[in-house]
């Protein structure tokens, strides 16, 4: 099997040996009503109402949403407006915690016997892809196709990020139990856990935990970015090629992040929905990189202050890793469900002026999808829809490898993103 292209990133996981610590409750929690790929939820609490931990505060309006729960017990102070990194305005529930963390009486372990039960449980738990994608997990269980393989994504190939790695090291039992549960209910033959080969400790812990279970194997992946992308992961673990415009689920492969899997197991045991997550706090403005267990909706300022970040010096903050992270326009933001990293930088390297392509071909040797980024760039400059289609622009997943290696500093990944938008609108 031929390995897909990729790039070797510099070593930058400072937090990989830091245990997950629990962040003390902040003074205020702001929970936006859109934390997944899809439609926003509608607020179903009033100001001054008392809410419990795990109480539904945002109801889904359509199939494209999952409920949002209060992550603390306390009083709703105000329903305000929240600006997403892309500029979209979303309603937002602000809660003042009372520190008691009283759990809502409705939080009882669900009974999961059939595939439909699993989909309902995933929906009611407010579960989204915790690896950063934010897609709706219940959708994957609700599909009618027969699934033959479950692939757990523990690759975490991004710069800085270690939240999945810590989950694998500290909660390996939960991941394996979750995998076994899903395996049983979905009648899946084989479970494959993909972990990068430069994390031998995680591979060992998972292999030991999986020994008791049948049909669960740990697959070491090459330590090359991007391994965590669905199609690359499925190819390197199962050898199957996901065709263009299709999802892995279309060919019978269910892909879940290891953290999502561990959460689903915890939910099946306790009935407490998705109210907190592990966030890696790193970046050169953060003296002590760490992995924090944070209630959903915690303002990022509280998280950064806890990690003794010098807020005055911060020039740029982004959510996610260094290759695909999204920049925050302002400090006023909260930790949301799919957020696996919070990176604060004090010296930003502004992108250098792009120069003309010298056709060195580095980008096409870096592209995991075998695309030709430089030709796509040229086709987009000419707004040539026909050429973009023939070059399969739609296959690009914006991993950023081409921009990373380009000696002419061309923003190739960004351009192809715009090219994809042009194709969908054309």
């Amino acid at each position: 099997m031929k390995r897909l292209n990729g790039i070797r990133l510099q070593k930058g996981k400072r937090a990989q040996n830091k245990q997950i610590t629990v962040l003390p409750l902040p003074k205020l929690i702001r929970i936006p009503m859109l934390m997944h790929m899809g439609e926003p939820c509608s607020v179903c609490v009033e100001p001054d109402e008392y809410v419990y931990v795990g109480q539904v505060i945002g109801k889904p309006e359509s199939e494209d949403a999952v409920p949002i729960h209060a992550s603390v017990s306390g009083t709703v102070s105000v329903i305000s407006e929240y600006t997403m990194p892309d500029g979209q305005k979303i309603p937002c529930v602000e809660i003042v915690p009372d520190g008691l963390q009283v759990i809502h009486p409705d939080c009882t372990p669900p009974t999961i016997n059939t595939r439909q039960d699993l989909a309902d449980a995933a929906k009611n738990s407010g579960c989204v892809g915790l690896g950063g994608s934010g897609d709706l997990t219940y959708r994957k269980f609700a599909r009618t196709e027969k699934m033959h393989t479950l692939v757990l994504n523990g690759a975490e190939c991004e710069l800085y990020l270690t939240s999945d790695l810590r989950q694998m090291l500290e909660n390996a039992e939960e991941i394996i139990s979750g995998a076994a549960m899903i395996q049983k209910i979905m009648k899946i033959k084989e479970v494959l856990i993909g972990v990068q080969s430069n994390q031998p400790a995680a591979i060992q812990v998972l292999t030991e935990a999986a020994e008791k279970q049948k049909g669960i194997t740990v697959c070491p992946l090459p330590a090359v970015y991007p391994q965590g992308e669905k199609k690359v992961l499925v190819y390197h673990t199962t050898g199957l090629v996901v065709p263009e415009n299709q999802e892995p689920e279309d060919i019978g492969v269910l892909v879940l992040n290891v953290s999502t899997c561990a959460f689903l197991y915890r939910y099946s045991q306790t009935g407490i929905p998705l109210i907190d997550r592990v966030v890696t706090v790193d970046g050169n403005a953060v003296p002590k990189a760490c992995n924090l267990q944070v209630p959903i909706g915690t303002p990022i300022i509280d998280v950064l202050s806890y990690a003794s970040c010098e807020l005055d010096l911060v020039k740029q903050i982004y959510s996610g890793g260094g290759m695909m992270g999204v920049s925050y326009p302002a400090f006023r933001a909260s930790v949301i469900k799919p957020q696996n990293g919070l990176i604060a930088m004090k010296n930003i390297v502004k992108p250098k002026e792009p120069t003309d392509c010298i056709r060195c071909g580095k980008c096409l040797r870096a592209c995991p999808m075998n695309l030709i980024p430089t030709e796509l760039d040229r086709a987009y400059q000419q707004r040539n829809v026909r050429m973009l289609t023939n070059l399969h622009a739609g296959l690009c997943m914006n991993c950023g490898c081409c921009s990373y290696v380009c000696p002419a500093n061309r923003p190739l990944s960004e351009t192809i993103k715009q090219a994809k938008a042009l194709l969908t609108n054309a």
């Binding site: 090629v241 326009p329 695309l371 921009s403 960004e414």
Partner: protein
Amino acid sequence: MHKLYIGSAPHTHSKSSSRRMMMFVILALLPAALAGCMSYGTSAILVLAISVVSAVLAEMLSSLIIRRRVTIGDLSAVITGLILGMLLPPDFPLWKAALGSVIAIVCVKQLFGGIGKNFANPAGVAWISLLLLFHQEMTTWRIPETGDVTRVTPLISGGAPYWDLLLGNCAGYIGTGCATALILGAVFLCFMGLISPVTPAAFLGTVAALSFVGGYDVLSQLLSGSLLLAAFFMASDYTTTPFTSYGKLLFGICCGLLTFFIRHFGGYPEGAVFAVVIMNLFTPALNRLTVKQPFGSVKVKKVKKRKKAAEPAESSA
């Protein structure tokens, strides 16, 4: 709270830059150029200096005249001038060397859109033009040790002791004499990952195989003439050679074939630069022929050019 900087992903970049890559190529060319200067003395230094300086000046002035951003900072003009200078005889008239640089930069590079858009190797085309224009001077060499003027190189005479070829003690162009220095530079470039060894290996391998079959002295065929310089530094140029691996392989093999045929059946004793420039013209075709199928792409009927009625949708989007 102060304002934050918004950047698009990725928020990090590798160390590579065009300038850095060109700098390494210059470093790799320097040993051979220095060896030439040591063999031929002041006149060789002057020829190299004039061709480099006039290439840089030509790039700067032409950019200013056609109001394009001045790109001499990326050092690509220095490489063009250096390669051209290395392909000239040591006693070549200086103004003719300058003319060669102007042809390379203005006619081949700038008029086609600047760096990355030239159709053929600028130094190669300029060298061919000079050979056609000034045949007498381009084919008059000097023997390094004695200083005797000669019109016979090892390629024409049919060979020379290997040591002389390796150390550059034969009549030839400034930068092509010392094979050891050229090989050293090429190994450095391959080791730094700046050029792929595929093209030079295929190029030299084909010449060696054909020479063996044809009953010529393989080693002296490889080491004499401008073959090494062309194989290592012209056939591995980024802009004018294929970017796919199979394309590089085919390119190298075809260059080798052409070189062999020009050397033994053509009117010119020197074939390598001709071969590279001719093959440059096939680069777009080779790229198209050998391009990899994107991962998981579904083979669809190629979207053909739509009729006029559908055109406005494209332009408005």
